[in-house]
């Protein structure tokens, strides 16, 4: 793998050949990772890259199978978060792992409260604790009532308190796991200031994030993981964005993707009235306002890195999340999407990313899962007769080749691909006009994967409008007429016709944050 550039100082934290497997699945495979004194080091990678396994191995949540971890030359093997903390590795998670009902001071000194009358059985010296808490927070520019419950403060403040706690417990390595995911721009700025201060004090910061702009604004070095392996470590200044995205996605940029969507006359296409049109549609802290139009018989792809706002866009379109700005129209008529029921009434369907949690109704049969949306739309007073239910279920089981012993099998016993097909059947039974698919091929075996892609193409040819989110760029390129590219919760580009190609998508993801005017 890429050898890190030799530096004058010896590394603060050196991970060499780290491996970790779960039930035979290699989550980390011989990964090297180096953090130096006084640097902010971005740890990047897509889903399943191994970032969180690496962090959890460093903090003692998991024990490594192979490899070495040395901190300032000393080999360490923490067996728990507390031990990691004692070994000077502090961690702050996106969801702050402190206790919101305790005061700020108590959170700062939990488990190490200043004591009176002896350390073991003495009493907590509350006065000393408050004084020390105030002192600890001053360098972070926080002057707040340290006796107030932590939960009363913003997530940003809570995170800084968590950082302050970790640093005060003499952390030399500070791991920040997606700290900015739920912060607004101003809060991010405050957090960055704190991070820069800590860097100047010689602390090594590991920064996990999905926001590339933040990586370039702050980080000295970048380590990219993919599928449990190290892709490489680079200096931020020497790594163009395009190369970074290519490293994360693992693509040969030269290879032009093979495109199967039929070429269409764009001018003629654009003249057709859209089925749905969104203008300035968005939701605070979810996705920036966007414009989007989808025509019948058209597949629009949503591409972007994890956390870029793809799923959020899909959920807004279906009304799963409620937009707080902008307007939506179907067939030129203004509509309001207050929930899935509104969307379904308008002829929308949505296969969510998390099939198990938000898609299937596990203990019910395949038949019941397939007819559920149709039945819900008809209302409870007009039950679909059992015979008809069976006909519908059997038809889709045949049509989509759902592998199940019979229609009465509980859906949770089916494989992921067959569950996905049953969910598609649920929506197809309602004869939707717009089908929204969030990662329709994730976690699905190769055979089912190809079938689902063929199905998307067939539905499109039948005149259905589709909005598809996928991390598989080749896949998106294969079936989309247009591709909307997202970055940092913003629609940054819309590619169409000949522009729809993997390298163009990657370039758009990597582009500097100059907002591209979405075309109507």
């Amino acid at each position: 793998m890429t050898d890190p550039t030799p530096t004058a100082s010896s590394p603060l934290l050196a991970v060499r050949g780290l491996s970790k497997a779960f039930l035979g699945v290699q989550a980390l495979d011989g990964v090297d990772f180096t953090v130096r004194h006084g640097e902010i080091h971005a740890l990047l990678g897509e889903n399943g890259a191994g970032k969180s396994t690496l962090i959890k191995t460093l903090t003692g949540v998991y024990q490594r199978d192979a490899g070495t971890v040395t901190l300032e030359g000393r080999t360490i093997a923490p067996r728990g978060v507390e031990e990691a903390q004692r070994l000077h590795i502090g961690t702050v998670y996106q969801e702050v792992n402190l206790l919101p009902n305790l005061s700020v001071a108590e959170n700062l000194f939990l488990g190490r409260q200043p004591m009176r009358f002896g350390m073991r059985f003495g009493l907590v010296d509350r006065g000393a604790m408050r004084r020390r808490a105030r002192a600890v927070l001053i360098p972070y520019g926080l002057t707040l009532d340290v006796t107030a419950p932590l939960g009363r403060f913003s997530v940003a403040t809570q995170q800084i308190v968590a950082i302050a706690r970790a640093v005060d417990m003499s952390a030399k390595v500070l791991i920040l796991d997606e700290p900015t995911a739920s912060l607004d721009a101003q809060e991010v700025a405050v957090l960055f200031k704190v991070m820069r201060t800590l860097r100047s004090r010689g602390i090594g910061i590991v920064f996990v994030t999905h926001f590339l702009d933040q990586v370039y604004a702050l980080c000295d070095r970048i380590t990219v993981l993919r599928n449990g392996r190290l892709v490489g470590e680079r200096r931020t200044a020497e790594l163009p964005r395009l190369d970074l995205v290519a490293m994360m996605l693992g693509r040969e940029l030269e290879a032009a993707a093979h495109r199967i969507a039929p070429p269409v006359d764009d001018a003629e296409e654009d003249a057709r009235p859209p089925l749905v049109r969104f203008r300035g549609y968005g939701k605070a802290r979810s996705v920036e306002p966007f414009d989007l139009a989808i025509r019948p018989g058209e597949v629009v792809g949503l591409a972007g890195l994890l956390g870029s706002g793809r799923t959020e866009t899909a959920r807004l379109v279906f009304g799963m999340d409620r937009a707080d700005r902008g307007e939506a129209a179907v067939d030129g008529q203004a509509v309001r999407l207050r929930g899935p029921r509104d969307a379904i009434r308008l002829g929308f369907g949505f296969c969510p990313e998390d099939r198990k949690k938000e898609g299937i109704v596990g203990a019910l049969s395949v038949r019941e899962n397939i007819i559920l949306a149709l039945q819900a739309r008809q209302g409870w007073l007009r039950p679909i007769p059992r015979r008809r239910q069976e006909e519908i279920a059997d038809r889709f089981i045949r049509l989509l080749d759902i592998r199940t012993p019979h229609a009465e099998q509980p859906i949770q016993l089916l494989s992921g691909g067959n569950q996905q097909k049953a969910l598609l059947a649920r929506w197809l039974a309602t004869e939707p006009r717009l089908l929204i698919l969030d990662e329709p091929t994730r976690g699905i075996d190769v055979g089912a994967h190809a079938e689902i892609i063929r199905l998307i193409e067939r539905l499109c040819a039948d005149g259905m409008a589709l909005l598809v989110v996928s991390s598989e760029l080749e896949e998106i390129v294969a079936y989309s007429r247009r591709v909307v590219v997202l970055r940092d919760r913003r629609h940054v580009a819309e590619l169409r016709g000949g522009e729809v190609a993997v390298d163009r998508i990657v370039a758009a993801i990597a582009s500097e944050s100059v907002p591209v005017e979405p075309r109507p």
Binding site: P340, E358, A363, R377
Partner: protein
């Protein structure tokens, strides 16, 4: 109606337990199955089990659907007290039978609506949401009766508790009718499917367009109505309303009846008839213990022991330890083999009693 039960084997624990308890009663008390007709009404221990079991069976009907949505309604006992207090007080105030029934059932519906709104709209956990009315309900009932035990002599209202229809005691008739109406309501419409869907996965159901708040409110309202009917039956039987004691702790019996009937507290599949069978198992045990002349101190212990056996027989963990039928173990959870190769000593199988 009991779609949770494709074959009879699945319901074996319930029907087996009921049969075993009845047989045990017969052994202790040979006259147990004798039924006689007197003054145009059936009498006998078996009839007594049905009659005395009616209030809990009524509660269990409503409770089944609440539990199927992954909820629980702790307030049914208090709602019984309210409906009884309303009926007795208004009857004493000279209201006619129909307005009294309407007011009493209406009170139950309102209570159910309150619970439903807390659970569905404010998204309070069901156990907490209904605990509020469990506590407050008795207070409301006491306010209605002004702290007195209100008695009445109206023969019309009393008929509900002690009358009979075609020789069958009214509480039994009412339970059968409510069971039938409820079963029709949930199984002839799509309501049953939606209740089960919401109970298994509320998020997925909402995403598929199921109106989850309305489904939740509907089951709590129906549960309130069932509790009000049970309260009427009890008040009519004793010709009075005791706000402090009417329906006291019966919510626990109702939950037990549902669980014994095989509906999981985790929501999903439910069987109304099986819950009523569960209620009858409880009542048959109560009656048996009374008849047996055991010291009353033993009653609760015996009851607990029998219940444990019934519940263990439904437990997927225990089925792992039972001798397996030939072939690989089915992936589906708690299907009990229809004929265990060896009778377990604690199994209340009918043959053990004969």
């Amino acid at each position: 109606m009991t779609r949770s039960a494709p074959g009879p084997s699945r319901n074996l624990p319930q029907y087996g337990a009921l049969a075993a308890v009845l047989l045990a009663n017969w052994l202790l008390f040979p006259d147990f199955f004798s039924i006689r007709l007197q003054d145009g009404r059936l009498f006998g221990s078996l009839i007594d089990v049905l009659n005395r079991g009616a209030p809990v069976a009524l509660l269990a009907i409503g409770m089944t659907m609440v539990i199927a949505t992954r909820g629980v309604d702790l307030s049914v006992g208090a709602v019984m007290a309210i409906s009884g207090a309303v009926a007795a007080t208004l009857t004493q105030a000279g209201w006619g039978l129909l307005p009294v029934l309407a007011a009493s059932l209406g009170a139950g519906l309102l209570c159910g609506l309150w619970n439903g709104l807390l659970v569905a709209v404010l998204r309070i956990q069901p156990i907490i949401a209904t605990l509020i009315l469990m506590v407050a309900g008795r207070g409301i009932a006491q306010l209605v009766t002004e702290g007195q035990i209100v008695t009445f002599t109206s023969p019309g209202l009393a008929f509900i508790g002690s009358g009979s229809f075609l020789t069958v005691p009214m509480p039994v008739v009412i339970t059968a009718v409510l069971l039938g109406v409820t079963a029709l309501l949930v199984r002839m419409t799509a309501l049953g499917l939606m209740i089960e869907a919401v109970g298994v996965n509320r998020l997925s159901s909402a995403g598929a367009g199921v109106n989850t708040p309305v489904v939740l409110i509907a089951v709590y309202v129906w549960c309130g109505l069932c509790a009000a009917v049970a309260g009427l039956v009890v008040a009519a039987d004793i010709r009075g309303a005791d706000a402090n004691n009417a329906g006291l702790w019966l919510e626990l019996d109702a939950i037990l009846a549902v669980v014994v009937g095989g509906t999981s507290l985790l929501g999903g599949r439910f069987g109304l008839l099986l819950s009523v069978v569960g209620a009858l198992i409880l009542q048959a045990m109560n009656t048996g213990i009374l008849l047996s002349g055991f010291k009353p101190e033993f009653n609760l212990i015996v009851k607990a022991g029998v219940l444990m056996v019934v519940l263990l027989l439904q437990s997927p963990t225990l089925t792992l330890f039972l001798p397996r039928p030939a072939g690989p173990r089915p992936a589906q959870p708690p299907v009990r083999p229809p004929t265990p190769p060896r009778a377990k000593p604690e199994s209340p199988s009918p043959s053990a009693g004969a």
